[in-house]
């Protein structure tokens, strides 16, 4: 087996699939961090959306019912976070943490109680998203690169571009960045920073919802206990590595996605323990954290005395 054979078209597709959930939740994290909200609770939002999506899709046998329910679950969890942090004065980290613990236990409880299943729940009645084939690309060389993906892959690009425009070309974007960097300055400019924080939190609930739905209703149609598996946290790291910008976060997520995709591929090629493969994204996260640390240290470079 040659190394070069690992890199083919299927790894490109697998790269995008691995990147999408991290990138989408990562951009939610970036948006929050840009506005000065440390949103640890994204993990819980993903999980609740994933479960609500499966539950509604199973109950109504409709993927759009699942989509709607998932988004609502994401938004409600976000509202809970906002209520605790901004209205009731809870510490953001604690509120996020409590929400994550609540969501993990809550979805597990509901799955076990409603479906009587432990571990995972899968049923033919659960309708998932179908891949979209782009007709005008059919037969062209672009088809394998760009066609026949599920929604979130396309959404990922759309979200990144629209967020970028929003950040740098709209009043809302400057207001968000000002709120994160200097809330007093924003307040002084007549910007209601609490409203901005609420807004990004609710919108992050929407994005985390999409990311969660990707896990449970695309590719595989099932719910697994704790299936978000830290993607919310990895998203936070991606946003931090990408300086809380949409494109930066997207780039960092691609790095995580690549590690994941290569890992999956290697598993087929070499006989590696699956647990070690599963560890790759987390190990990469630790590596990225170390890189962030090195970058922070390098930023400060003393001016030599002789220059003055």
């Amino acid at each position: 087996m040659e190394w070069i054979e690992i890199f083919d078209i299927s790894i490109f597709r697998s790269l995008l699939r691995s990147t999408a959930p991290i990138a989408i939740v990562g951009m939610a994290a970036a948006l929050c961090s840009a506005a000065g909200v440390l949103n640890i609770g994204l993990e819980g939002k993903m999980l609740n959306a994933a479960f609500a999506g499966v539950y509604a899709s199973y109950t109504f046998e409709s993927v759009w019912a699942g989509f709607t329910a998932g988004i609502i679950a994401g938004l409600l969890t976000a509202a809970l976070f906002g209520l605790l942090s901004f209205t009731l004065g809870a510490d953001e980290v604690l509120a996020g943490l409590a929400i994550n613990i609540f969501s993990l236990a809550g979805t597990t409880y509901l799955m076990r109680t409603i479906f009587g299943q432990a571990g995972f729940f899968s049923d033919p009645r659960i309708v998932g998203f179908e891949p979209i084939s782009i007709s005008f690309l059919e037969g062209t060389f672009l088809q394998p690169f760009l066609s026949d993906f599920t929604y979130s892959i396309y959404l990922m690009f759309f979200i990144a571009i629209s967020l970028h425009i929003m950040y740098y070309r709209t009043r809302l974007g400057t207001a968000i960045r000002a709120t994160g960097e200097n809330p007093e300055a924003a307040e002084d400019a007549g910007i209601n920073t609490v409203r901005i924080k609420w807004l990004v939190t609710v919108f992050s609930g929407f994005l985390a919802g999409i990311s969660g739905l990707f896990l449970s209703l695309e590719n595989l149609t099932m719910f697994t206990e704790g299936m978000s598996a830290g993607k919310g946290y990895i998203g936070l790291v991606a946003s931090s590595f990408g300086n809380n910008t949409p494109f930066g976060t997207f780039g960092a997520s691609l790095f995580f996605g690549l590690g994941d995709a290569i890992g999956i591929r290697l598993q087929g090629v070499y006989e590696l323990d699956s647990r070690l493969i599963l560890m790759i994204p987390y190990a990469l996260t630790v590596v990225v954290l170390i890189l962030i640390g090195i970058r922070q240290r390098l930023r400060i470079r003393p001016v030599p005395i002789s220059e003055s």
């Binding site: 509120a95 830290g230 936070l236 790291v237 647990r275 630790v286």
Partner: protein, 360 residues
């Protein structure tokens, strides 16, 4: 850290009341009988020697993880990775439990516990150093290490440490390494006394010694306060305090894992699942980041957790309901503005003043 005040107690009880109401709704909504659940919860938690012993057994690791949490929080660090320390501590304490064959009972138990603690502490070294020397958020790094820990111990139990050809588990620990179980049909073991002793020791060290003062000088709030200018200004190296605090925190997580293996499970296997590291965070907060408060909160949590198992066994209601409810309770307790808002009522203010009178 603010000591318990009347309004905190009030909010906790009001939260409990509302939480019970939510539980009632949740249980009814999923087609079960709430009063039946409440009865089983009570029976499982408090009725008879065996249930009480089991409740205390459940409380054992919680006391330790809660103290581990509060120590890290009070030095100004947010250690969310105690669960990871617990896993690796359990794995290596178990390994020491069958590996050293020539030791006497006391020595063997001590060695196993110390190894578990050392490994648990070592697990926290990287996040501590990253935070102190590179400014990388310990919140994220410790959370990520939790995921690494689960996969790592599972890999070890499957690979290098695997002893059983059929099931992925290590060898059973030797009798010399066991923490003794005291009651028949209960996993309650002498580890409980270790946990209580550790919590009391933590109380003493934090509040009554110069070492504890140096640890706390840079923190003592709910928010991550490291790095503290105050400590370095006084000549107390706040970096060192932060690292030591994280290592103690990890060591106590490792101790919790070690006691689970030495006192209850007796070997490490792949499916062994811990979440006391996360529960400990909730309990630490419920106990207002005080070791004694954490003992009380752990006993309470241990009892309803054991009751939850009984409910799970007797009815269709899954035991996760307990964690759901505790986290809802945390929502109330952490709502600082609500707690502060109570001050505008003269009666509560008066009661607060009455209970907060001090010698000093």
């Amino acid at each position: 850290m603010e000591k318990f005040s009347f309004k905190d107690v009030l909010v906790t009880f009001a939260g409990l009341f509302i939480t019970s109401f939510i539980a009632w709704v949740l249980i009814s909504a999923t087609g079960n009988n709430p009063s039946e659940v409440a009865m089983y919860l009570y029976e499982g938690g408090f009725k008879g020697t065996r249930n009480i012993a089991n409740s205390l057994y459940q409380a054992t690791p919680l006391i330790l993880t809660a103290v581990a949490t509060l120590i890290s929080f009070r030095v100004g660090m947010f250690n969310i990775g105690i669960n990871g320390s617990m896993y690796v501590g359990a794995l290596y304490a178990g390994w020491a439990g069958y590996k050293f064959t020539t030791l006497g009972h006391f020595t063997h138990v001590t060695v196993c516990i110390l190894i578990g603690m050392a490994v648990g502490a070592a697990w926290m070294l990287l996040p501590a150093l990253l935070r102190v020397y590179a400014g990388v958020s310990e919140i994220i790094s410790t959370i990520i290490l939790n995921f690494v820990a689960v996969l790592f111990v599972s890999y070890m139990a499957n690979g290098p440490f695997r002893a059983d050809p059929i099931a992925p588990s290590t060898a059973r620990i030797l009798e010399t390494a066991e923490l003794k179980q005291i009651f028949p049909n209960s996993q309650f073991n002498t580890g409980f006394f270790i946990a209580v002793f550790v919590a009391i020791l933590a109380h003493f060290i934090l509040n009554k010694t110069t070492f504890g003062y140096e640890l706390r000088s840079g923190g003592d709030g709910l928010v991550g306060m490291y790095p503290s200018r105050f400590s370095s200004y006084l000549g107390i190296p706040s970096d060192r305090s932060a690292i030591i605090g994280m290592l103690i925190s990890g060591a106590l997580g490792g101790l919790a894992g070690a006691i689970e293996v030495l006192g209850a499970v007796r070997y490490f296997f792949q499916e062994l699942e811990f979440n006391q590291g996360f529960d400990g965070i909730l309990i630490g907060i419920l106990g207002k980041l005080e070791p004694i408060g954490s003992i009380i909160a752990s006993l309470f949590y241990g009892a309803i957790k054991n009751g939850g198992f009984y409910v799970d066994y007797k009815t269709d209601v899954s035991r996760e309901i307990i964690i759901v409810l505790i986290s809802v309770l945390i929502f109330f307790v952490s709502a600082q503005k609500m707690v502060k808002g109570l001050e505008k009522y003269p009666f509560i203010k008066k009661m607060d003043n009455f209970f907060s009178r001090k010698k000093m």
